[in-house]
Structure formats: structure tokens, C-alpha cells
């Protein structure tokens, strides 16, 4: 195989030109002949028993072609537990829950018919907050939770606790009982964040030749295929999912969404059906980043050793478990990350409430746990009187250190990254003068994330014209990994130009299984599968070339579109000549490959209810920012922002810079002004851009970026995913800097001007979370036990 370094280039993206010309057809821009328009009838109450649904009048209305509801979709789906039916079944569990779906000739007709469906409800008590849900005698969101099919054994659950994952390593009680430690305790709370991907969730479905064809804006074609099959109770092989260009995802489209509704309607109406969420529906039922509450306590010696740590994290999953069930796993690696720990115990619980379900959002779980961990770390430093930078440099995970679940980390990465940040800091003057009379703060934070590996498949057809077609189920959601990283990897392996690698758009009838685009896994998992496919293509190509040139295959190299004899430039033949000959003599050349995470060992018994016990590819980040806080208004201005990010190998540095700038800005929105509140009736108050404020051009600064290369990675060519992690420690950095500027403890996000002003005026009562018991054991159903051995 050629040198990895020759794969590095700022290869431009093929899809840019049509996107700039307005020619790209996203799912929302598509149609099919004879297509119907669909809408959902959604609940407008958070909790009720469904007494009766009567669509008989609605069915007779003009243009109506099909109406479907719970009786038409008997299945339930979910992650870990199958708790989620397609339509509200028996009861309404959240405001916005679909009750019925209507397809008609026009959207206006569909809406009119939906409004004419008679729904008789009997109100039931609702739990809106996690405190409500955990109260003694709280009404249950799922009274029949025991009867649900369990898809992964191991998570403890009961009542409104949808899932509990715990980690226990070492003797935490003994650590806290030591006489030489300071004990620091903190609580934090964060709200939800809406992805606001510009293309809403959208789908066009048809039913042809006894199979469904679903064209959709998704990150996970195979999950859509499998979940739709489950919900409709048909074999997954009856479903084909194809994905055009996706107009932004950020995790929102990491779950099955509108697809099964459209599929059901298409089968019922025998016509293609289009279903698109309005912006208001996207705001109200978004699968937001979950709101969370965290209690964390540490026992730290005066030298700065963290000898004991315990924490409880409550994650609001809304009315159905969804992604949050899986994300309980992440606490071990995010809140349990960054630092060398003695004994540790962590509990992470997904809580049912009568609110819209939450989902995955870029560095899911990580952003708030990193916020909590880094603020807590600063509180530790204040308590024991150590400089926060010095503490971090000393305490961060290094070579041979144990993670919370007992995995052994390889190589010193965070330490040298902190040194790199120190170099950036000293190379440039501080922006302090720009703060003028305002309060000035600076902070440096660290973060631990990982690449979510998992299965991927790839097939490569080497065409007789010297181009290669890469067939996978990967989706280009905007990050460029499908358009830039994969062609670079394949072309490097085959000696082609990246522009000669054609990337097939995702189609589950063509590409093999894939977990989906998310968790920074595209370059790694699809890249590794593509590399494996290249190995087969190379072998076949070199065999034919070897015969043609009468040279052993081992003496041949592929480069610049040629098969050459090693050391003799211009020798041999072009790849076109070899591929043409192959086609005639042995048949067209193709290769296939696959990949999955090899798995890393954790300590047996440490982690319970986890989907992943240890992380295959850790990814680290160091962020630093300077802020100015206006004491009159509470407005926070970001003066500078710098990122040192662990990328393994930067295949396309310019594309990574773009991901970092974009991810940091999404994090600034989360930290400073993207606020979601939920009214007493369980409805999200923010319905659009007017009330939900995303960052604008004038709010942001250019991020100074340094890519840290060379940390170990099992990714192809030493890569790690780079698109997910840039948002990870933004809220942490901003919160620590605002805390430093104001001298007040920041316990909640976002730091809107009223919030900051209240902090400054001392009007903000200290956060209390009485529903998280101060005694860790009272917060868990089951406590695993695992005694740390020396690694």
C-alpha cells in the first residue's frame, strides 16, 4: 500500500458546485409523478388516554387518499428496549405525538382532513420534569414498562427510569473517608438543544413490486430500513432506503423518523407519498440534545490526586427511550474521562417524562458532562488552591492510565496537547484590552470523546476507464467525509486521482450494512471498509498487470494512474490498460471489504447496562477562550477561541478546519443563547428562529486551530473522526471563562444575558437538585462491584 502521507491533500468537494448553483436536489426538493402530500395529526396534550379515534368523516373529504393510525402499525421499536410505537397507542405520552397520518392530493386537503379526525381523550396526569418523574408516587409514563421487549440485556429499569447504567471501580467509600482529602461537591443543569438542521426531516415513499422504496433525509439508512420493518411488521428485505444529499443532520437524523408514516400511506394509497416536517414541527418534536442534571463529588488530595469520584447523571429521554438509552453509556467515557481517577462510581439514568422524545446531537452526552466536569475541576482547584492549568497538566489521562471502566489508555496525548495550547497562548497577545471596562475571563478546558466504530461495508468497482465506483451506505450530510475523505483514501490506495473515485449515494439495495453517519465514524469505519475493498482490487489488478508486464506482483506499485515497476518511473502500463485487459481476460475487477470495532478490554464487572464498555478510538480536545462580560447587561462576548484537536492524521486539513469552526459555533450557541423551555403543559415554548436564537455571523470569531497528529488510532491511515468532537468542550470553556470573569459559580446553561446578570447581581439562587440524593447508592437500583487491580 502507498504511503499514508500521500493521501493528505485539501481535495475540494465534488458537491460544492451544484450546491452553490442551487441545483442540488435534497429530499425536500424532490417529487415523483402522481405524488400525494401527507401530514400528521399530532396530540396537543402531554398525557391522556385515547378513548376513540374516528376518521370516517375525514376519509370522505376531498382529495383524501389514505388515513392510517395505530391499528395499521402494530410494532414497537427502540434502542435497548422496544418502547416506541409509531402512533400513540392507547395513550398520549407527549404533546406532538402522532395520532394519525393522512395522504391527500394537496397538502391543504391533507391538513383539512387531519383536522376533521375525531379524537376523544381522557386527560391523565403528566410528569413534565425529571424531578416530577422521580417523585415518590409519580404517575408512570409507561405503566406497562415491564411488558416491553428488551433488546439489550443488562440495564436496570423501573417505573419512570427507562434505563440505568452504572460504573463502579475500586472502593469509593474508603477514598472519601480518607483524612487527607478535600471533598468537593457540585451540581449542574443544562437544557435542551435543537439541531436546527436546515433541511427538516423529509421523506418520499412508494410501494412498488411488493416492496417499499423510501427516499429520505437520514444519517442512518439501515436503521430506517430495520425500524420501519419492525414498526410495519414486514421483513426488512422488503424495504429499500435511498438517500439524496442531506441538508444537515448533526445527529437529528440518526434515528428513524417520518419514514414509516410515509411508507404506510404509500402502501395504503398505492401512490408515492411525500411527508415533510414544518419548522414548527421540527422545533416541537426535534429529538433535541437532552436536558440533563448532574451531581458530582470528588475526594482530592492537596497534591491534586483525585482519589475518589462519584456522580449521578439524569438524562431526560422524553416520552420514549430512544437514543438516550444508549447514551447512558457515554457518561463513563465523558464524565469519567479527562482525568486519572482513583476509585470511581458513576450512575447514568435515562428518565421518562411526558415531553417530546430527545435524541442524538453531535458529541451527545459529552457536551454537558464536559461542562460539568470542567466546572467541577475548576471548583476543585479553587478548593485546594491549585492553578487550574497546572492541575490539568498534572491530572489528565496519560499513557497507561485507567479509564473509569478500567480500560488502559495508550500514549500521552492530552498533556502534550495542553502544552501545544500553551504555545498558542504565548505566541499571541491576549485580547484582554478588547474587553475595555467589561469583566474579562479566560479558561482552558479538556475533553474526552471517542469514535463510534461499529460495522461498515464497502464495495469498489474498478471501471475500464480507470475510474473507481465506491458503493457504501454512507451518507453525505455536509461534513465532507463522503465527498473528501473517502475518495482520498481510495484513490491513494489504488493510485488514482480522488476525482476519479465516484461515491455512490446511499442505497440499501446496493451497499452493505452500515451503522450510519455519526459519532465521527465515517472516515474511520467506512474508510477502513473501503481500504479493505481496495486490498482486493489491488490484488486483482496487480495479478493481471504482472502477467501483462511479466513482473512479479510484489515488484509493482500503483501510482498516478499507472502500474509501475518499483523504482522505474514511466515503466509498466496505465491502470486503464490493465483494467481493460482484466475485463476481457478475467472479467471486471471489483473488491469488497468490511470493518467493525475490534473492541477494547474493560475490567470485567465494572460497568453494568453499558452498550460499550471501553472505547476503541479515544479522541481528545483542548479548548481555550477569552470572554468579556458586560456588567450592565450580562452580555457575553467571545473575544478569542482556540482549539487543539486530536485528529490522528489530518487527511484533509482544510475540511477539518471547516468542521472545527462550525462545531465550535454550534457550541457557542448552546453555551450562550440557544434556550429551550418547556411549559407547564409539556410543550416546548420555542417554535422557530424568532424565539430560538442560533448564532449569527456577527456573534462569532475565527477559531484558531492546531491539529494534533500522531496519537494512536486503529482508523485507516491513522485517522480519527474529526467532525463530531469540535463541539465537545465549548460550553465547558465558555462557562469556566464566564465564571472566572464574574467570580460566580456557573451551574447552568445557557449563559443568556438575564442569566449572567442574575449571577452578577447575586439574584440567582444556588442550584438545588433534591431529587438526586446526596448519597450515591440511593440513586441506583443495582450496584455492580469491581475491585481495581493494578493494570
Amino acid at each position: 500500500m502507498p504511503e499514508p502521507s500521500t493521501a493528505v491533500k485539501n481535495f475540494p468537494r465534488r458537491d460544492a458546485r451544484d450546491k452553490l448553483r442551487g441545483h442540488t436536489r435534497y429530499t425536500v426538493d424532490r417529487g415523483r409523478p402522481g405524488m400525494l402530500h401527507a401530514t400528521l395529526l399530532r396530540a396537543n396534550t402531554p398525557s391522556a388516554r385515547i378513548v376513540r379515534i374516528d376518521a370516517s368523516e375525514a376519509r370522505k373529504m376531498p382529495g383524501v387518499r389514505a388515513i392510517v393510525s395505530a391499528v395499521d402499525a402494530p410494532g414497537r421499536h427502540g434502542i435497548g428496549i422496544a418502547d416506541h410505537p409509531l402512533f400513540a397507542t392507547g395513550r398520549i405520552r407527549y404533546d406532538g405525538e402522532p395520532i394519525a397520518a393522512v395522504a391527500a392530493e394537496t397538502l391543504a386537503q391533507a391538513r383539512a382532513a387531519a383536522a376533521a379526525i375525531v379524537v376523544e381523550l381522557e386527560p391523565l396526569p403528566a410528569v413534565i420534569s425529571m424531578a416530577d418523574a422521580l417523585a415518590p408516587d409519580a404517575p408512570l409514563v409507561h405503566p406497562d414498562w415491564r411488558s416491553y421487549e428488551v433488546l439489550l440485556e443488562g440495564g436496570a429499569r423501573a417505573g419512570n427510569v427507562a434505563w440505568e447504567a452504572t460504573v463502579v471501580r475500586g472502593d469509593v467509600d474508603a477514598a472519601f473517608a480518607r483524612s487527607d482529602v478535600a471533598i468537593v461537591e457540585s451540581v449542574y443543569r443544562v437544557g435542551r438543544q435543537n439541531h436546527v438542521s436546515f433541511e427538516p426531516r423529509a421523506v418520499i415513499a412508494s410501494y412498488e413490486d411488493g416492496r417499499f422504496h423510501i427516499e429520505t433525509s437520514t444519517q442512518v439508512p439501515w436503521s430506517v430500513r430495520n425500524a420501519t420493518a419492525r414498526l410495519l411488521n414486514v421483513p426488512p428485505s422488503q424495504i429499500r432506503v435511498t438517500v439524496p444529499a442531506v441538508g444537515g443532520g448533526f445527529g437529528l437524523k440518526f434515528d428513524c423518523a417520518l419514514e414509516p408514516f410515509a411508507a404506510l400511506l404509500a402502501r395504503a394509497a398505492e401512490r408515492p407519498v411525500r411527508l415533510v416536517n414544518s419548522r414548527q414541527e421540527e422545533m416541537l418534536t426535534c429529538l433535541c440534545r437532552e436536558n440533563a442534571e448532574i451531581r458530582i463529588r470528588s475526594a482530592v488530595t492537596k497534591e491534586g490526586e483525585i482519589v475518589g469520584r462519584e456522580a449521578v447523571v439524569l438524562m431526560d429521554c422524553g416520552a420514549y427511550g430512544g437514543e438516550q438509552i444508549f447514551l447512558t453509556t457515554m457518561t463513563a467515557h465523558t464524565l469519567g474521562g479527562n482525568y486519572r481517577l482513583g476509585a470511581v462510581r458513576l450512575a447514568s439514568r435515562a428518565i421518562y417524562t411526558n415531553t417530546a422524545p430527545n435524541g442524538a446531537f453531535r458529541a451527545c452526552n459529552g457536551v454537558y458532562n464536559t461542562f460539568a466536569l470542567e466546572r467541577h475541576t475548576d471548583e476543585i482547584c479553587a478548593a485546594i488552591g491549585i492553578d487550574p492549568l497546572a492541575f490539568r497538566r498534572h491530572a489528565v489521562l496519560g499513557d497507561g492510565d485507567l479509564g473509569s471502566t478500567g480500560q488502559v489508555f495508550e500514549s500521552d496525548v492530552l498533556g502534550p496537547m495542553l502544552d501545544r495550547m500553551a504555545e498558542l497562548r504565548t505566541a499571541k497577545p491576549s485580547k484582554r484590552p478588547m474587553a475595555g471596562p467589561r469583566l474579562y475571563g479566560r479558561a482552558t478546558t479538556v475533553g474526552t470523546w471517542f469514535v463510534f466504530v461499529g460495522p461498515s461495508a464497502a464495495t469498489i468497482n474498478l471501471n475500464a476507464d480507470g475510474s473507481a465506483t465506491l458503493v457504501t451506505s454512507g451518507v453525505e450530510i455536509g461534513s465532507g467525509s463522503m465527498m473528501q475523505a473517502l475518495p482520498q483514501i481510495v484513490s491513494n490506495a489504488l493510485g488514482l486521482r480522488p476525482e476519479d473515485v465516484i461515491v455512490r449515494a446511499a442505497d440499501t439495495d446496493a451497499g452493505g450494512y452500515d451503522v450510519g453517519v455519526g459519532g465521527g465514524r465515517t472516515t474511520v469505519s467506512l474508510g477502513a471498509a473501503s481500504m479493505a475493498a481496495c486490498v482486493e482490487v489491488r490484488r486483482k489488478l496487480l495479478e493481471v498487470a504482472s502477467e501483462m508486464l511479466e513482473v512479479a506482483p510484489g515488484d509493482l506499485v500503483l501510482a498516478d494512474g499507472r502500474v509501475e515497476i518499483i523504482g522505474i518511473k514511466g515503466s509498466g502500463a496505465t491502470i486503464v490498460e490493465v483494467a481493460e485487459r482484466a475485463q476481457r481476460v478475467v472479467g471486471p475487477i471489483s473488491g469488497s471489504g468490511s470493518f467493525t470495532g475490534p473492541g477494547v478490554v474493560a475490567m470485567p464487572g465494572c460497568a453494568t447496562g453499558h452498550f460499550i464498555d471501553a472505547i476503541d478510538i479515544p479522541v481528545f480536545a483542548v479548548h481555550e477562550c477569552e470572554v468579556a462580560v458586560d456588567p450592565e447587561t450580562g452580555h457575553v462576548e467571545v473575544l478569542s477561541y482556540a482549539v487543539v484537536q486530536d485528529v490522528g492524521r489530518a487527511l484533509n486539513p482544510r475540511a477539518i478546519y471547516g468542521q472545527i469552526q462550525g462545531g465550535v459555533v454550534q457550541g457557542l450557541g448552546y453555551a450562550l443563547h440557544e434556550e429551550i423551555s418547556i411549559g407547564a403543559k409539556g410543550r416546548i415554548d420555542q417554535t422557530g428562529f424568532e424565539t430560538y436564537r442560533t448564532p449569527l455571523a456577527q456573534d462569532v470569531v475565527p477559531v484558531e486551530i492546531s491539529l494534533y497528529e500522531g496519537a494512536p488510532s486503529i482508523g485507516p491511515l491513522g485517522t480519527k473522526g474529526a467532525g463530531e468532537v469540535p463541539i465537545l468542550n465549548v460550553a465547558a470553556a465558555i462557562a469556566c471563562a464566564v465564571s472566572n470573569a464574574t467570580g460566580r459559580p456557573v451551574q447552568e446553561l445557557p449563559l443568556t444575558p438575564p442569566h449572567v446578570l442574575a449571577l452578577l447581581l447575586g439574584n440567582k439562587p444556588s442550584l438545588e437538585l433534591p431529587h438526586i440524593s446526596a448519597s450515591w447508592r440511593d440513586n441506583v437500583f443495582a450496584e455492580p462491584s469491581c475491585v481495581a487491580r493494578a493494570p
Binding site: F198, G247, G249, G688, V701
Partner: protein, 156 residues
């Protein structure tokens, strides 16, 4: 009623109700799907087109009011397949991510750069106050627009 429209220099006719938002007429009747519907409330700028050279959010303009104006959409920026200088520089700078905001960004900036004299970085950011991008974090779009503006100054 038949509405006469001038879209990208061509005379077109629409049978839509005059109160229909212009963006729906462009997209659904003429298949000019470059302009995107993202908020329908005038906040995101993704549906921006030029009306007589002025950027306007086409989700809030009833098509009846656009009759008699020169309507310019993103599809017209490239001539005979050749990108406009602004499009070219966006491509050169690798500014595009998901791409959904770009049609609106380009129309706002095209309108702005046609008038602005030697704009600063801050001027460009101010011009983009009505255009949200969720992917890029803006700076590279601003870099590219600045480069386009400077190229115009040099050429002009």
C-alpha cells in the same frame, strides 16, 4: 388570474393565487428549488432572492407583489455553466457544507457586493445579519466574500 413574472430575465406566467408566497411559486411551479424554505418566517434568509436587485426573503413576499419586479434566483448566477465570481470563490475556499443556506447567502451577498464600496469584514458580517448558517460557523464564508469583494475592487 394570470400573473406575469420576470424570472431570471425570462417572462413567465403563473396561475397561483397572488397571495401565494413567491418561494412556493418558484419552487413548485417553476421547479427553481434553489431558494430553500427553512423557517417561512423571514428569519433564516435561505429563501432570499433579488427583487430588482435588492435581496428579499421570498417566503414573505406574496407572488402578486413580485409581478412587475425583476426576480433573480440563485439558478441564474452562473452563466453558461460558468460560476459567478462569488460562487467561484466560495468553491475555492471550500466554504460549503450541507449547502442549504448557500442559495440565500449568495443572493444576499450578490446584492450587497453590487453596492458596497470596499467593504470590511464587519460590513460583510452585518450584511449577513438575516442569513443563518447552521454548519459552517460563518468565518470562511466571510473570508470568501471578502476575497470576492477585493477582487472586484482590483478588477474594477
Amino acid at each position: 388570474m394570470r400573473l406575469s413574472l420576470e424570472i431570471n430575465g425570462e417572462d413567465r406566467f403563473s396561475l397561483s393565487d397572488p397571495l401565494t408566497p413567491l418561494v412556493d411559486v418558484l419552487r413548485d411551479e417553476f421547479f427553481l428549488t434553489g431558494a430553500k424554505v427553512v423557517c417561512r418566517e423571514g428569519f433564516c434568509g435561505a429563501c432570499t432572492v433579488l427583487l430588482d436587485g435588492q435581496p428579499a426573503v421570498s417566503c414573505l413576499v406574496p407572488v402578486g407583489l413580485a409581478a412587475g419586479c425583476k426576480i433573480t434566483t440563485v439558478e441564474s448566477l452562473a452563466r453558461d455553466g460558468v460560476l459567478s465570481p462569488l460562487q467561484r470563490v466560495m468553491e475555492e475556499y471550500d466554504a460549503v457544507q450541507c449547502g442549504m443556506c448557500f442559495p440565500g447567502m449568495l443572493m444576499t451577498l450578490t446584492g450587497f457586493l453590487a453596492r458596497a464600496r470596499n467593504p470590511s469584514r464587519e460590513d460583510i458580517k452585518e450584511a449577513l445579519v438575516g442569513n443563518v448558517c447552521r454548519c459552517t460557523g460563518y468565518e470562511r464564508i466571510v473570508d470568501a466574500a471578502l476575497a470576492a469583494a477585493q477582487a472586484t475592487v482590483v478588477e474594477g
